[in-house]
């Protein structure tokens, strides 16, 4: 790009994080703050008979004990299915049943121990397939009373929180034309987002009824609007303060637990209330990621064309499906990889069970989906006797031509799906067999997976931006997007720098956003931040620039189109010595005689996704997203049959989009790669037969460490931009995670000839499957380990 800032590896602007004075909700306090502590039920499903807390109230410093009865209403974003504290029933092991508020955390913890609850245990339903059976216990008997978004389809009288249909072509006809068919069920357990900052919220209510909250959330405006609707408050009386947050990965999207400290503060005469979760609590009280069953049947003709795909996708949503219903929409509307298939018929269900509630996670269901569908691709290729890369290229979507699963003709500048696959194959040296290690118990193989994704958002998901010019030529940018580490604010600063020709150092984007002081943005999710905020910002800059030009044109007595802005100055085109600096006109340009024109210059800009539409409830036909990022990932793995561990030696990722900032994109790629690999190999929330979560800690919920990362990670951006995207750049944040579990499973099959259909691909599973599918390999290892002599 012929640019000075955009496209360059500019270091992040949030450098207070390395200095040590970056402020997170975890660090936030208010004078006179009191502490809330939740207590939970030790049953997966039980009727609450009685709650006794007089002893708790006697503990010095205790101000109040609350129970579900104090808050007789539900909250939620897409499906308002959540109780503030459990009412009537507890729905999962670890479900909060009561809360203590006290002057100190010590007092709150002491009092919490003294609360007694009587239950009548009910049979729990702990598996999504079980939950679909007609005689399954119901998690939510009153589903018919719950409010929900129009594009969510709950089925009262069942455990179905939503059902998404997608129909394209004629599925029977499709399979009648298929020469080869593969049919499998894939399983992926519930997992955790694993961000490091536990959820914290500090709330207070002012005497005029204004509610203020500082909390760990991704999207301040979503929190504001949902708090207002859930609690029946006018929107302008809810002020949400966004600070840096210690990671989100989808787990802090929508409304989290903000209503709890807010409600407590209301009941306590406005006193500031802090609710801070510890790690165990964060596992139980925050929503995790759903579990998945994918039943898939996919057919192709003998010349290698995909022709039909049937699927039943079942999301184990846990006790509350508030956000997972939208994840079901994501996999429901993008039910297969970036390939054209004439006949598609899928049903996606989010199903309630008596487990931890679930919500979004980076990738919004698609990493999970592609584990299944990109395995299908390899298994089909194998049946056809075709090379997996060749098979993919034969079916990949072609911009301007292909009709997607939602019957949308892909826009001409949609990207380069084929290019990404080809480049990934090249970088992993596809076709060249891996060099086998000298230890006869280690086996290497290669695998590939392709992906695509756009943001899953309502068709009116808006963004806006304001740019204020200061009297020294510096700039304040006001946006509502959250900063959870993804680096959007640095990219936005680069755009401002580029457009105004000023250095990044002259731009401030405050780490704090107050919803009453920054312009609206729907949510910071779905890798939409840069695309949406970026467009709003570019419009704001256009607005500002036209004001600058107007003033300069008047000063130089030329037309506005004869003014250009460069290096922080407005100059007459062709006469770069005829300039006025932006500083001189920021607050109004003053002539030598004192006459002043202009006035403080403020640019504003808005964005809504264009041409996206609401899916048809019967077929899913729609334009679901304003852009798709296409890409592919490939790996070389080594399977060790002594330890059962799989090591990714090399991981390559190719994205079709240009990068506003290669340094930031690299960070997203490495982070997403390590996360995706770890999810593929290790991560799972483990429940015992009573529904008790057994690993609510980092000791047994294993996150990757520095010594676990691949020896080599490479990535490439092809630079194929979409015309309406800021500098062509599409979202990348979530995309970087999508191919890994699938690529690894494909590589394991390549290495040891063992086909896997379940995550995680942990040592237990590897050894178990080797014993089943390739016992002779273990014999070989035994032989190799024979002691000589």
């Amino acid at each position: 790009m012929g640019t000075k800032y955009v496209g360059k590896p500019i270091p992040r602007i949030d450098i207070d994080k390395v200095a040590g004075d970056a402020e997170y909700p975890y660090d936030f306090t208010l004078p006179g703050m009191v502490y809330a502590k939740l207590v939970a039920a030790p049953y997966a499903h039980a009727k609450i008979l009685k709650i006794k807390y007089d002893e708790a109230l006697k503990v010095p410093g205790v101000l109040a004990v609350f129970t579900g009865a104090d808050f007789p209403f539900k909250v939620g974003i897409y499906a308002a299915d959540r109780d503030v504290l459990a009412r009537e029933k507890v729905l999962y092991y670890g479900h909060p049943v009561a809360a203590v508020v006290a002057e100190t955390l010590e007092a709150a913890e002491k009092a919490a121990e003294l609360i007694e609850v009587e239950y009548e245990p009910l049979p729990p339903v702990l598996d999504a397939l079980e939950a679909l059976k007609p005689d399954a216990p119901l998690v939510h008997e009153k589903l018919h009373e719950y409010k929900h978004a129009p594009f969510i389809y709950p089925k009262p009288g069942t455990n179905i929180a939503t059902h998404l249909k997608l129909r394209k072509g004629n599925i029977e006809e499709g399979f009648s034309k298929a020469d080869v068919v593969v049919e499998n069920t894939y399983y992926e357990p519930l997992i955790s987002q694993g961000y490091l900052e536990n959820w914290v919220g500090v709330a207070r209510v002012k005497s005029d009824g204004t509610v203020e909250i500082w909390s760990s959330h991704q999207s301040p405006f979503a929190v504001r609007n949902l708090l207002a609707t859930s609690l029946g408050l006018p929107i302008h009386k809810v002020v949400v303060h966004h600070m840096y947050i210690g990671g989100g990965f989808g787990g802090k999207a929508g409304l989290l637990l903000e209503h709890i400290p807010v409600l407590f503060s209301m009941k306590l005469g406005g006193r500031p209330v802090r609710l801070e979760l510890n790690r165990e609590e964060n596992y139980f009280y925050m929503a995790q990621r759903a579990g998945y069953y994918f039943k898939m049947k996919t057919g192709a003709t003998k010349d290698g064309k995909l022709i039909a795909h049937w699927g039943e996708y079942i999301l184990d949503a846990g006790a509350y499906a508030d956000y997972t219903v939208n994840v079901a929409r994501s996999v429901g509307l993008k039910p297969f990889g970036p390939y054209e298939i004439e006949h598609v018929h899928t049903d996606a269900y989010a199903v309630y069970t008596n487990k931890i509630p679930t919500t979004a996670f980076r990738g919004f269901g698609l990493m999970e989906l592609y584990f299944a569908s990109e395995r299908q691709m390899d298994l089909l290729a194998k049946k056809l006797g075709m090379d997996p890369v060749e098979f993919r290229l034969k079916n990949v979507l072609i911009p301007g031509k292909s009709i997607t699963h939602t019957q949308e003709r892909l826009r001409e500048d949609a990207g380069d799906p084929a290019g990404a696959i080809k480049e990934a194959a090249k970088l992993i040296e596809w076709g060249k067999p891996p060099e086998q290690p000298k230890e006869p118990w280690k086996f290497r193989g290669k695998g590939i997976a392709a992906f695509w994704k756009g943001p899953v958002q309502p068709s009116n998901a808006a963004s806006s931006a304001i740019v204020k010019l200061n009297d020294d030529g510096s700039v304040d940018v006001l946006v509502g997007t959250g900063e959870m580490g993804q680096g959007t604010i640095t990219s936005l600063a680069q755009i401002v720098a580029e457009e105004l020709g000023i250095p990044v150092e002259k731009i401030r984007i405050s780490p704090e956003r107050r919803t009453d002081m920054v312009p609206y943005t729907w949510q910071t999710v779905g890798s939409r931040g840069l695309f949406s905020e970026g467009q709003a910002l570019i419009r704001a800059l256009e607005d500002l620039k036209s004001q600058i030009k107007k003033v300069a044109a008047q000063v130089f007595r030329v037309f506005e189109d004869q003014i250009e802005i460069r290096d922080g100055k407005a100059c007459v085109v062709g006469e770069p010595w005829e300039c006025i600096s932006l500083a001189e006109m920021a607050l109004g340009y003053m002539y030598p005689n004192g006459n002043t024109i202009g006035g403080p210059l403020i640019g504003r800009g808005s964005h809504v996704p264009v041409r996206t539409s609401i899916p048809d409830p019967e077929t899913g036909k729609s334009v679901p997203a304003p852009f798709y990022t296409f890409g592919a990932g490939a790996v070389e793995v080594e399977v060790d049959l002594i330890t059962g561990r799989v090591k990714v030696l090399k991981a390559v990722m190719v994205l079709d989009t240009p990068a506003i900032n290669p340094l930031l994109v690299a960070g997203q790629v490495y982070g997403g790669t390590v996360m995706g690999i770890n999810i593929g190999l290790l991560e799972e929330l483990k429940f015992d037969k009573n529904g008790r979560l057994m690993n609510p800690n980092f000791t047994d919920y294993k996150l990757a460490r520095a010594a676990d990362i691949p020896e080599e990670m490479i990535f490439k951006c092809l630079g194929v931009g979409q015309k309406d995207a800021p500098y062509g750049a599409k979202g990348v944040g979530e995309l970087t995670m999508l191919p890994w579990p699938a690529a690894i499973a494909n590589a394991i099959a390549n290495a040891i000839g063992v086909e896997l259909y379940e995550l995680p691909m942990k040592p237990d599973k590897i050894i178990e499957e080797v014993k089943k599918q390739r016992p002779e390999l273990l014999e070989k290892v035994r032989e190799a380990l024979k002691v000589k002599g």
Binding site: V39, P42, A98, E113, T643, V781, R782, G789
Partner: protein, 298 residues
């Protein structure tokens, strides 16, 4: 985690206790005797403080022994052995030349125990006294035939490490006793050892840990082979029959096969949150094979 049966409370704070920091062993022993079961020794605290926050242990009195100079001994006597005091940290051992050269199997285990940061505080004695079945130093100490020196106000006693563990997280220590040091005799002439730790990621507790010590493999008369394991039974275990077996004058290949069978028959792994029984059995078998091949042939 929960104190009362009917609710779960996940604590952020440690329970209340009284803190003592005695300067002499005698003082510590007297406190221990006075408070008996209500008191706990604090060494590095990397096990104790976690257990306390989780309310698994709730001592009313905590006796920090790090101020007692006489417990900070790390002394090697040529021909006799190595004494490791109760407050010697794992980091100190890792940086000790004698440990690395003479007691490699122990060094190898410590290298893989927890992480750099924790080893700055965690002690070897604490690892043993905590008596986790997964204690990484235990198999190494078992194959080295370490001895545990114990003291109370009533006097001192010494027990073999193999007799020290009683059950999951239980030792033979009486409530008024503490460990003052571990003594490791001079290892057999020419001994080589390895600790093989099976893990899920770069930082993990042992799914299975196997320590092996081999001396003079080619000479049946002087041959010594010992194998001990962690995470395969309620306590760390040494398979004592292995040493006997290798005294026989048979081809090494045959002995090794028999040893694998023997080890397999002496362990009783279970399925838990970290691994299945089946995986653990696989690890025991292939780990033992791997170690024997490496140490007997090498």
């Amino acid at each position: 985690m929960a104190a009362s049966k009917s609710v779960l409370v996940f604590h952020t704070l440690l329970p209340e206790f009284e803190y003592f920091r005695p300067k002499t062993l005698q003082e510590a022993l007297e406190l221990l005797d006075k408070y008996k079961g209500d008191a706990r020794i604090l060494a590095g605290g990397t096990d104790l403080l976690v257990d306390m926050r989780m309310r698994i242990k709730q001592p009313k009195y905590v006796i920090d022994i790090k101020g007692i100079d006489e417990l900070h001994t790390l002394k090697y006597e040529e021909g006799k052995g190595l004494t490791i005091g109760a407050t010697v940290t794992l980091d100190e051992l890792l940086n000790n030349k004698i440990v690395k050269e003479k007691y490699y199997v122990l060094w190898d285990a410590i290298r893989q125990l927890a992480d750099t940061h924790l080893r700055m505080k965690a002690t070897l004695v604490g690892n043993i006294c905590n008596a986790s079945p997964a204690a990484d130093s235990a198999p190494a100490l078992l194959v080295l035939k370490a001895k545990v020196n114990i003291a109370s106000v009533n006097g001192t006693r010494t027990v073999e490490i193999k007799d020290f563990f009683k059950w999951v997280k239980k030792t033979i220590l009486e409530p008024n006793e503490m460990v003052t040091s571990i003594f490791i005799p001079e290892p057999p002439e020419g001994a080589k050892g390895r600790y093989l730790k099976f893990v899920r990621s770069a930082e993990d507790l042992a799914l299975v840990g196997i320590a092996a010590l081999v001396a003079n493999p080619k000479d049946p008369a002087k041959r010594i082979v010992r194998i001990a394991l962690s995470s395969v039974a309620p306590t760390p275990v040494i398979v004592e029959e292995v040493e006997e077996l290798f005294k026989q004058d048979k081809p090494l290949s045959e002995l090794a096969e028999e040893a694998v069978k023997l080890v397999m028959s002496k362990v009783s792994p279970i399925t838990d949150v970290r691994a299945t029984k089946e995986l653990r059995e696989h690890m025991v078998e292939f780990g033992t094979r791997y170690l024997l091949k490496t140490l007997l042939e090498g």
